[in-house]
Amino acid sequence: MGSSIFGIGLSALAAAQQGLLVAGHNVANASTPGYTRQTIVQSTNPAQATGTGFYGQGVKVDTVSRAYNQFLSNQLTQAKTESSQLDTYYAQMQQINNLLADPNGNLGLSPAFQNLFNGAQDVATNPSDLSSRQSMLSSGEVLVRRFQSLDGRLDEIQDGVNTQIKNSVSLINTYAAQIGKLNETIAKSENAARGQPANDLRDQRDELVNQLNQEIRANVVVQNDGSYNIFIGDGQSLVVGTQVFQLAAVASPDDANRLEVAHVSGGNAAVIKESSLDGGKLGGILQFRSESLDAARNGLGRLAIGLAGTFNEQHQLGQDMHGNLGGDFFTVPSPTVTPSIKNTGNAAIAADITGFSSLTASDYSLRYDGANYTLTRLDDGATQTFTTFPQTMDGVSLTLASGTMAAGDQFLVQPTRNGAGQIKVAIQDPSLIAAAAPIRTGAPLANTGTGLISAGTVNLPAPPDPNMRQPVTLIFTGTNTFDVSGTGTGNPTGISFTPGASISYNGWTVQITGQPKPGDTFTIGPNTNGVGDNRNALLLGALQGQNTLAGGTASYQSAYGQIISQIGSKTRELEVTSEAQTNLVSQTQAYQQSESGVNLDEEAANLLRYQQAYQAASKVIQTANLMFDTLLSLGR
């Protein structure tokens, strides 16, 4: 009997001690990431059956269990992977947003545009003044440099994206390796402990899964033996039991400057479809690149190409100070066409921009199936199918430059990708600015009627008519008819005359108002020595307000405004959604922690409880001892 009191006391002492150990462990790990509160699970020892009843044999600790809730933990991991994706996307977007921000209005693209057109107007006001012309050229240079520096910053951001992809991939590989290792360690340890759960190791593994999800959304499938299988993307396996697969960051087959994520299996790296990789930092960075970075770069590129192209077209219709027709004011950046490295044919495709106002900010993919070519606009998936070149889509004309195409060959066409980086001012000599119009009109003093001829305009589009500057005479043969003579006009006779109506030959248009008399003549001819003429400079200046882009719906500035507004709105949207997601994470975490987290007050109470239990158990032993002493003293 006495020994069993000792036994009970000892069992209680041991249980209290274990309780203290676990409470102490909880206190110690209160702030360890991923730690789950542990408790001892105690039960009574089997009672001893006697004739007078069942006598309890004290207490035993069955196991140390962790307050782990799979459902809440999963929810938290999902919320966090989402949040990490949004945070990463938002952080990247902020870079572009800040890049385009120009609160004082003097460093952005917008004032540079304004200065170019102000320069054109200054030239219009003083067409013969070289310093005005020089200042217009300098404004052009400044604008071009703004474009280039924006493009340069976008390049840096793209490099940053590549670095982050590499980092994420390497972290994912590390986590996968550690999880695989832990799968093994946990199984071994738990076997050795006869099935007792290895709580701390399991916490570590769950925490690794959590961290893995900070990089990429990973699906965990718990196996019957308790090990974790982990899948990402479209179901690519990352960890299967103790077997671990690797991811790799590889150059895109379409674009060597772009890293993509590949799954390595049996020595083969297969690129994982970008759209299937979501969640986590990697998901965020990939989404940023495909949704916003490319769009920003193409948007700026379209603006640069649109400006260069339309400005050039007007400039070519003018005449410079030397009396020559205007050349290019800007160098128009050319589209890029990249054959896939998997192509088996040797075809080379050339792309040319033929319609500046029809350009879109999208990239295109060209595919050949052996019989038909399919050209796909990548942002909305619109396609064109055709069998022969040349083919034009959205102002870009594609031709087969050389070689032959094999079935399955693919090309990436990026009309606007290099626009912002490659726009240049094509002329350095200010006298080459085509401020004048190439023609002028006149009426001799011998005319007797009241007819007045307008100064004349040059018809769009460039290039100008080759006979533009041929001298042409309009001779009135009656009050309502006239003859035309001059190279290129076909010398028509008896043309009927309406005052104020447009008369157009050789690429120019004039109007005659008033009432000419028979025998009156009007001349249209080259604008020789016309250095004081500013008609083309006025038209160049007026381009600013015209809707020259996006199919005639947007001016330069409004196209820029659209880019700003898209980026601003996206950043704003991400700010709001990432904040909402952060709140969701914090709520979910509060729930998860309310179940699994350590509360120090609670542990203090537990410490007191087990301390008291320990003291009480000591008292039981003391009592047994006293009883024993009483027995021993009987013999004295």
Binding site: R37, M93, Q94, N97, L100, A101, P103, G105, S110, P111, D122, A124, T125, P127, S128, A436, R440, T441, G442, A443, L445, A446, I453, A455, N527, N529, G530, V531, G532, R535, L538, G541, G545, Q557, S558, Y560, G561, I564, S565, I567, G568, S569, T571, R572, E575, S586, Q589, A590, Q593, S594, G597, V598, N599, L600, D601, E602, A604, A605, L607, L608
Partner: protein, 311 residues
């Protein structure tokens, strides 16, 4: 609900962070004077502000254009005024030359005076602006418009008129072609006759000796057609001059409109971008109160621990 110690710590920290972020944002606004610092803060206002500042900059450019137009027009106006005087002077001489008491030598003296006037007229017609560009040569700014070729003064310019963008929708002509001012003048004998020819004809008439009755008739006819032509010239120059004056007035009107518009743009920009200091500072004070309260609550909550009572 159980609350884990971590949670209460993290939530308090998050609240502190949030409030500090709001405070920094507020400070940025106050120090920059701008409510919107990046497009994301209010995309539509930001783009609107871009549009307004573009319109404002264009308006400023039009003002510069108008200033240049005003100076070109006043140079033109001044020159036309001088031309008017020369013509009026010649008209007086023509009347005076009709006085029957004048001798050949008296008329010759008038002719000499007229030659001086003709030279002055030539120099006015070939006047250049500050950039060395001829006022009356049309588009051919560096071509001397009027040259005496031996067979009379000829025009080498053209009919071109330079326009200046004086406002969003208005272009103003800032020069006149020499042909319009000096050549397209209705002649007494029909057709057009240049002012220079009128002068040289008159000089010829005055220099011709008068002895026979036929000479007298020729003198009288010559002087009367000179007077008619001079009067037509004056009408023509005054017509051009009044056109120039009208345009100068229009520049003034456009300047007023432009100033008003500039003021409007600045106000719009200010309401789109600028920080409302009263509001920003009251927000800042409010945030400070919140932050202090959060800090004190944090200390109180974190200061409570059962461990403190375990002795």
């Amino acid at each position: 609900m159980r609350v884990s110690s971590n949670t209460s710590y993290e939530l308090s920290l998050a609240a502190l962070n949030r409030q500090q972020a709001a405070q920094v944002k507020n400070l940025e606004q106050i120090s920059s004077g701008k409510r919107i610092l990046t497009p994301a803060e209010n995309p539509s206002s930001y783009v609107q502000a871009l549009k307004v500042s573009q319109a404002d900059a264009a308006n400023t450019q039009y003002a510069a254009n108008r200033q240049s137009a005003a100076s070109s027009l006043s140079a033109l106006e001044g020159t036309l005024g001088d031309v008017t005087q020369v013509i009026q002077n010649a008209q007086e001489l023509a009347v005076y030359a009709g006085n029957g008491t004048l001798t050949d030598s008296g008329r010759a003296a008038i002719a000499t005076q007229l030659r001086g006037n003709l030279d002055e007229l030539m120099s006015l017609a070939n006047r250049t602006d500050a950039n060395g560009q001829y006022l009356f040569s049309g588009f051919q700014g560096s071509t001397k418009p009027f040259v005496d070729t031996g067979s009379g003064v000829q025009y080498f310019g053209d009919d071109g008129q330079r326009l200046v963008q004086a406002s969003d929708s208005r272009q103003l002509a800032v020069n006149e072609s020499g042909r319009e001012v000096f050549e397209r003048i209705p002649a007494a004998a029909g057709g057009y006759q240049s002012l220079f020819k009128t002068f040289s004809d008159m000089i010829g008439v005055l220099e011709a000796p008068v002895s026979t009755p036929a000479d007298k008739t020729a003198l009288a006819d010559g002087l009367s057609s000179a007077q008619a032509n001079l009067s037509n010239s004056l009408d023509s120059v005054l017509r051009v001059r009044s056109g120039v004056g009208t345009r100068m007035n229009e520049v003034d009107t456009l300047n007023d409109t432009g100033d008003d518009l500039g003021l409007q743009y600045k106000q719009q920009l200010s309401s789109l971008q600028d920080v409302d200091y009263a509001k920003a500072i009251s927000d800042l004070t409010q945030q400070q109160t919140y932050l202090q309260a959060t800090q004190q609550a944090f200390l109180k909550v974190q200061g409570l621990s059962l461990f403190d009572f375990m002795k």
